[in-house]
Symmetry: C2
Subunit: 387 residues, 2 copies
Amino acid sequence: MRNVAVIGTGLTKFGEHWEKSLRNLSTEAGALALKEADIDGSQVQALFIGNMSAGRFIGQEHLGALAADQAGLLPIPATRCEAACASGSLAFRKAVFAIQSGRYDIVVAAGAEKMTDLKGTDAIATLMGAGDQEWESSIGLTFSGLYALMARSYMHRFGLTREELALIPVKNHANGVNNPYAQFRFEITVEDVLKSPMISDPLRLLDCSPITDGAAAIVLASEEVAKKYENPIWLLGTGHASDTLALHSRPDICTISATGHASRKAYEEAGLKPGDMSMAEVHDCFSIAELLAYEGLGFAEKGKGRELLVNGDTKTTGRIPVNTDGGLKLGHPVGATGIKQIIEVVKQIQGKAFNQISNVKYGLTHNVGGSGATCIVNIFGVEKPVR
Amino acid sequence: MRNVAVIGTGLTKFGEHWEKSLRNLSTEAGALALKEADIDGSQVQALFIGNMSAGRFIGQEHLGALAADQAGLLPIPATRCEAACASGSLAFRKAVFAIQSGRYDIVVAAGAEKMTDLKGTDAIATLMGAGDQEWESSIGLTFSGLYALMARSYMHRFGLTREELALIPVKNHANGVNNPYAQFRFEITVEDVLKSPMISDPLRLLDCSPITDGAAAIVLASEEVAKKYENPIWLLGTGHASDTLALHSRPDICTISATGHASRKAYEEAGLKPGDMSMAEVHDCFSIAELLAYEGLGFAEKGKGRELLVNGDTKTTGRIPVNTDGGLKLGHPVGATGIKQIIEVVKQIQGKAFNQISNVKYGLTHNVGGSGATCIVNIFGVEKPVR
């Protein structure tokens, strides 16, 4: 299998971009990525874009061609990938496969979502397109409702307290203060979380990721191209797995089994273990999701994820820092999130992150679609894998 | 590059399936494809599904995981691809890349769309998600309107008559009579076309493809697996290109330049010329689209496509039969169409088609998204390519 590396990254600010449309945002991120890779558009051979629901958010499908068109990259082949909130990571994987097929040496993998052009209630309904329409959304379930069911069940089974769960958004908000791309840049306390408005019991406003506009893009290259760069960051392993769309169809709603399947595949491909990771970006769409990720990724045993929180292990000063840029809590333009996670890991490995961790050798991204029906895990490192 | 072959195909009837949902249709097609390939679900390593707009048609995104879930294929990785009406071919290409990356040996590529659960006007608006939302759909353009602009311009520039254009639906309806999967199975005359209700001048009802529910699936295999089969059909070449989303941005609205780019790439990869093709399935969403395809694919020079019609060259008895199963006029469940086209070409090469052409050595599929912003061309043959 051919080796693939990231040679450039680009990110828009995450937030409410009333003055920019989806096409503006995706082009902005793409141009920044090309600039960082020091290439021009004529060198890009194919484009992949992750987007969840522009059809419903802004009445626009066919985003591959649109992105290529707006970026002046015509007539290159352009592909839109969708797996709900894991759409960005899906686009990344398809871009990797395209290089590994032997067809291309330089491709762009991007993600973008424009979520604020609709009213709040419509955005919630649109996001439920990621769940099971016939069994969940049709009866009024929302994503905060689905994750609240997981949180309540987890608290009951494993003795997690409401205060302990609040440590996740507190940590992530603290990390986001230094992140100029974050939608929110203020610290919060456990008390703030517990006093914030109830959304879906036991989850409160500060447990939830926001509605966000934004885009992210990376330039990927084959080994032949990447070896000419000073600081390429190599993909060491990748895994992707599926689960039932409906939460109620799973044997255990406190386990996102797709995380386990995808991460085992990624660790195996990379020849690494959970303990080898220097840091991770995980999918904290709701506070409980980050806790489930700790366990699914093997950072803690089932039911023991709370110990990482209580010990501060996942803070930037801990043994396995998680969501060093603030995570999804600091902005979640759904289609862009997977690519944004990769950018943070790349910056950490390059030693150029906002909250730089020392000695980052290996970093992992974990991106979930829906309530866990899709999970994609990628592992990156500074040294070229030998295959 | 690894060789890839089709080893199984499955198709639902195209039509108005009031008693079946998208998940029923995709599972039905997938099960038929597995049966034809004589494999069971445990052998499928990854799933790719093309779908244009289930988010708007039925409120359901996240179709990769849904299809894997419904088909009992969990936890395999599942990918939804979208490029408007070329979504099926896009899923096929990504499935091919996945095998060529070296990761998988058996994958399913499917396409599905459920279009009738909405009222007619909503379906038209939803389909305009394939066009440019900011410059076309927002001002009321429809797809029949866009193709009518091309048709009117073409008739003016190249002297095509309304009667000559009608020969396309007349031919395709005649081919569809023998096709048990077709939505409509009756012959029509040129007079019928000219008397059918006006939709967008000069296009009339019988120039237009219908609103359809349906699904199609194929099983793809690497050479290692495919060589154990009696009659694998090999992918010889594939091409994919993009153009501006908005029709008005193109230098010439009588040319779908993405067809030219994609087909040149496919011919080059296959080491074949347009004249080598025994038959082709082309994207006749509107009658004029088939004529433009003749020229874009190199079957006729620019402005001379009408000669093929007048001479009957693209009838089943002609020198380059086109749309031998009836084409899109006999049903166009947009996400499924690209896979359905591949199935017809595979059946023709295997000698098992409804309207079997004699001595089919090479067949081509041509699938267009929107008014030509995406085009994907694939060439298949009975002999394994030597690379």
